[in-house]
Structure formats: structure tokens, C-alpha cells
Point group: C2
Chain length 332, copies 2
């Protein structure tokens, strides 16, 4: 196949789809598997005292915070990227701009089991994860210093996890991060021109093309985006237009959890359990709903390395066309 260039319709990023590059030789060995010392894991039950205070938990009603017995637990990050107590103070430093690093940094410990893949969890366990996301985003919205809450998950060392016990994180920021700003600007420009939501249009087009869909139900759709940056990059979107993830209904959480389990099982089979990241892109905290921004989850298995070309250009070279990725996911 000759390479082709595809443009992401939201932010205008071009991706090179070049399947011939899968055949490149390499004189480096694959990465060694991660070792793991469970006896020191600070997220395992019985070591509750090793983490900062609990802000949310699931488990029996009689259990007290900080005690074992939980099935999911949210705690402050022991090494927070931002200072939970800080004041927001913007100031100049010569020509530069600085802000005190105030914000929230929490860890969602998804399960008491040290090793447990999303695809192997019970439905109700996965529901609790997405319920915890909602709860902590609503809590972050109460803090008027904060403008944005980003929820993400790093699975596996190559995806940036430093601890292997299954967990997600929430970082709440005193500004809207540039990546989300670009999506909001791009989807607004599309809406200004077309008077339609670009994400709603993508869902409609993908259902019409029917070659990049991974799975769907009445509420959600999982698909390989047209301009996929990575092999098996997968996006999950609500079918009905909605800007704020944290306004998801109880029924929505049930369906999202079930769909995510299916997606994760397919991805695990197709990528051999590759490390992955997922990121939840939603509206800034307390912003009014609008007609152009649509929350979604971006899921990126880590099957390659970001190199100088990607850093220098912001473009990506993907050797697996998303149509083929969807086919592979649906065959296995």
C-alpha cells in the first residue's frame, strides 16, 4: 500500500498511514518484562497507612476509611504533581509567566487485587471505576481554584506506570490544558462552519462506513479513529451529544463499563497485552454545555516509541491502517 496522509477533523493533525514500515529491521532487543515486588505495593490491602488520606471508597458500609475491606479506593497521590493546599497566583518573571502549582492529584486504586485486568473484572467492579471518576470530578468542580480535571490511566511501564497495581489518576489543574483547548477550538471552528458537532458527525460517518467500529450499544460506540496516530488507537464516545462526562447517568455508567470490558478484552488479545494509556477528555469544570464539545475516552496501546519526527512535527506515522486494526480486533 502506498502511504497516505489523513487529517484529524478535530484539531487538524495529519497522520501518515504507512503500512510498509512494519517490515523495518531492528537491531535492538525487545524490552525486558517488568519485575514486580508485591510485598512492597502501597496500593495493596493492609497497607492503607502508606497512602495519603482516602477521599472516596467502595466496599461494605460498616468499613471505616483507611481500613481494609474496600473494593475500590481513592487517595491523594503521595508525590503530587500539584500542591493541594496552594493558592492560585499568576505572576510574571521577566518576560515569562508563572502560576503557583496548586491543584489536585489523586489515585484511583481500582481493585484490591495486585494483578487484575479490566477485561477480567466483574461488571460491577468496572462500574465502580467510572463511578469514582464521576465522583472525583464532581468534587474537583467544587474547588473554584480549579478549571479542569483530567482522568487518565497508565497500564504497564512503557505507558508510564511506575506502580503496577491497577490504578487510574486524576489531576485537577488551575488552567485548561493546551490539548483540550485545541480540541475545543477545533470543534468550535467546525461548528461555526457546519452548525453541527464534529464528534456527532464522526459517529454518524463511522456508522455509515462501518469499517472502523470496534463495538457499540445503544449508548456508546468504540471505534478506531480515521486518522489514528497509533496501532489500535481506540476512541469511546457517547452516542448522544454530551460535553460533561460527570453528568453521565447511572445507566450510562453500567453500559460504559460493559463496553469498556469488551474493548479491553479485544485489545488485550490483539496486542498481546501491550501497555496502554487512556485519557478522558471532557469539558472544563463548571463550563456550560455547548453544541460543539463532546466528551470521549482516547485509548492508546503502546506498541511503538515516539521519536524525533513525532516530537518535531506533532504528526504521527502509523503502520497499521485503522480499518485493518478494527478488522483484527473483531476477528480475534
Amino acid at each position: 500500500m502506498t502511504p497516505e496522509l489523513r487529517r484529524d477533523p478535530i484539531i487538524g493533525r495529519w497522520v501518515i498511514i504507512a503500512s510498509g514500515r512494519r517490515l523495518r529491521p531492528s537491531d535492538f532487543k525487545p524490552e525486558a518484562a517488568a519485575s514486580d515486588d508485591v510485598s512492597k505495593c502501597p496500593f495493596c490491602p493492609g497497607r492503607e497507612a502508606d497512602t495519603p488520606a482516602e477521599t472516596f471508597a467502595c466496599g461494605p458500609a460498616r468499613r471505616k476509611p483507611g481500613q481494609p475491606g474496600w473494593t475500590l479506593r481513592v487517595v491523594g497521590n503521595k508525590f503530587p504533581a500539584l500542591d493541594p493546599a496552594g493558592r492560585i497566583h499568576r505572576h510574571g518573571v521577566g518576560m515569562y509567566d508563572e502560576m503557583d502549582g496548586a491543584g489536585a492529584h489523586e489515585v484511583i486504586i481500582e481493585t484490591p487485587h495486585h494483578v487484575r485486568h479490566i477485561a477480567d473484572m466483574e461488571d460491577c467492579e468496572v462500574e465502580d471505576i467510572f463511578r469514582a471518576y464521576r465522583h472525583r470530578m464532581l468534587a474537583a468542580a467544587q474547588d473554584k481554584r480549579l478549571q479542569y480535571a483530567l482522568v487518565f490511566k497508565n497500564y504497564g511501564r512503557a505507558a508510564g506506570a511506575t506502580l503496577s497495581h491497577p490504578h487510574s489518576q486524576l489531576i485537577a489543574l488551575p488552567m485548561v490544558p493546551i490539548r483540550v483547548r485545541q480540541e475545543m477550538d477545533g470543534s468550535k471552528a467546525y461548528h461555526d462552519y457546519k452548525e453541527r458537532c464534529v464528534f456527532c458527525d464522526i459517529i454518524r460517518e463511522e456508522r455509515r462506513f462501518a469499517e472502523r467500529i470496534v463495538c457499540e450499544d445503544g449508548d456508546f460506540i468504540a471505534m478506531e479513529p480515521y486518522a489514528s496516530r497509533f496501532q489500535f488507537e481506540t476512541w469511546i464516545l457517547p452516542k448522544e451529544h454530551s460535553g460533561h462526562y460527570e453528568r453521565i447517568s447511572a445507566g450510562g455508567i453500567k453500559n460504559l463499563a460493559r463496553l469498556m470490558k469488551t474493548v479491553m478484552a479485544k485489545l488485550r488479545r490483539a496486542t498481546g497485552g501491550a501497555p496502554f494509556n487512556w485519557m478522558l477528555h471532557t469539558m472544563p469544570l463548571r463550563d456550560h454545555e455547548n453544541a460543539h464539545y463532546h466528551w470521549h475516552i482516547e485509548l492508546m496501546p503502546k506498541t511503538g516509541t515516539i521519536a524525533g519526527f513525532e516530537w518535531g512535527s506533532g504528526c504521527y506515522i502509523n503502520s497499521l491502517p485503522p480499518e485493518l486494526a478494527a478488522k483484527t480486533l473483531n476477528e480475534t
Copy 2:
């Protein structure tokens, strides 16, 4: 130190400087060292037939293309991300936009030696690398299909190199990539407001602050940027305003080569020879010089992993303040 948020003055990206996070525990082992089979290296002398045709070389005048004896050699990439012969044809696919993947993808084999660090090369060898960049960018500018030539170097597997023999790459694209577009837009907005080049202002500020400079001479300055994304991120800029790298003088190449050797020696000592990327950011091919865009090299040692937070936000968490990075580089 409490974390602080710093804003990049060019594209407005925020970076969290959080030195406390260096203390985080990790239950993963460090990555295994790369193995290397020199007998199969397609870039070593004597295996010239294993690469596509030569487009530039340095070495004795009597040498014929494709023969050994070269000291530097530029060839087509055997697994090109873009099709050198393709036509540029933009078209729609439903709501999406596509372009045929036409462009150039070349490899600059920097030395006949299979193992040779920039810091250990002779001055004239490093000069040849920067001369080759200029030559190939000028050649790319002749091809009216192409709008941008990105030169970059991946050193070490974690930085995305698939072959360890020292080399750089040039990818010439039929569009201006999003990352460069953002820098051009940002520096234009700064110029519209201040009527000054933001890069020239940065150089002036850094010389005034004198705490983030790595080294400088009459023509160039190397510094840790104020909002460094990564530990020991280093930028190299010409002191005199200039948009097009490929218009560099012969004397400029000599000075740039000498400065890069110094920078690379300092970085190697400070990072223990960590993998790195460098990217040359310059104007789009054939664009007229303007008062706001200023070419530069971004050099990023690979000392950590990009994870969900960075992917989801476009922001970065850096645990080493650039002032401390500069101090470390200048002490060792």
C-alpha cells in the same frame, strides 16, 4: 520546593515543575541495554548496496557513489514513511480529508563508524552533518510538491532509533506540520502584540537571567528553556534573527558544530549517555523570511516516559527545574 506552573511563551503550553516527584518509588526494573549486531548493520561501510541510492556524500573526490571511502552519506530511507515519487492529490473521504502520502524520507549516515558519539567526533565531522542538513533541505526546497523539511535525530532505542549506527533523518512533507504551525502562530501573535521576535526576546532574557545558559559563542546560544518539558531539555538558537536554517553561512556551520559538540559532551556526562532526540525547527520551504520566526534546535534527552497525563493534556511534568539542570551541566 512547592510545584510551580510555567508557561511556554511561544505556544502557551504549561509545564509543571515538581521536583518532589523525583523521589517516587518504582517497582519496575530499568530497561535492559540494547544489544547490537554490527555484522548486519546496513549503514556500515561495505554494505552500500543495502541502502537505496545516495543523494549526498562526503569523502575523497575520486570516490564513486555507492562505494566505500565516504565519511558521511545520505541515502533514501529503505522503508520510507512517504512515497518519493507520489503526486500530491488532496481529496475528501466522506467528512474526512486525505492526501496522497508523497514526500521525501532520507537518512543521513553521519559517520562510517558503527559506534561514535557526537562529542567524540572531530569538529569537521560534525560540520559535515550540519552541512548535509543544509544541502538536503535546499534540495527538498527544489521540489514544489513539498512544503516542509523536518530534520531530526533519534539516538538510542528509547528515543525511537531502530538502528544504532549514528544517523539523522530528513522527512519532507507536503504540508506544514501542526507543531511548527503552532510555533509560527504563537510567535506571530507575540510579534503582533510586541513588535519583537519572541525567540530574540528569550535570548535577551536568558542572557540577563544568566541561570539557564549551557554555553554560547558569538553566533549561537544553548540554554535550558524556562518551561522545559523534560530533564535537561536544551535549545540551541542563532543569536541573530534568522528563519531559515538552510541559509546558514559556512562560518555559522563551523560554530554550530563546535557548540553542539560541547552541549553533547555536557549532556552525556550529566545524563549518563541517555538516549535523546533532536529536532531542527525552521521555516517552511521557500517561505519569505519574516520578523517573528527564528530557527532553532530542540534537544530532548529521554530520561522518562510520556504517560496519560502528557497525552491527555499536552502539558508536562518535569521534576528537574531548568536552572538546576543548567547548573548540573556546567558543573560536570
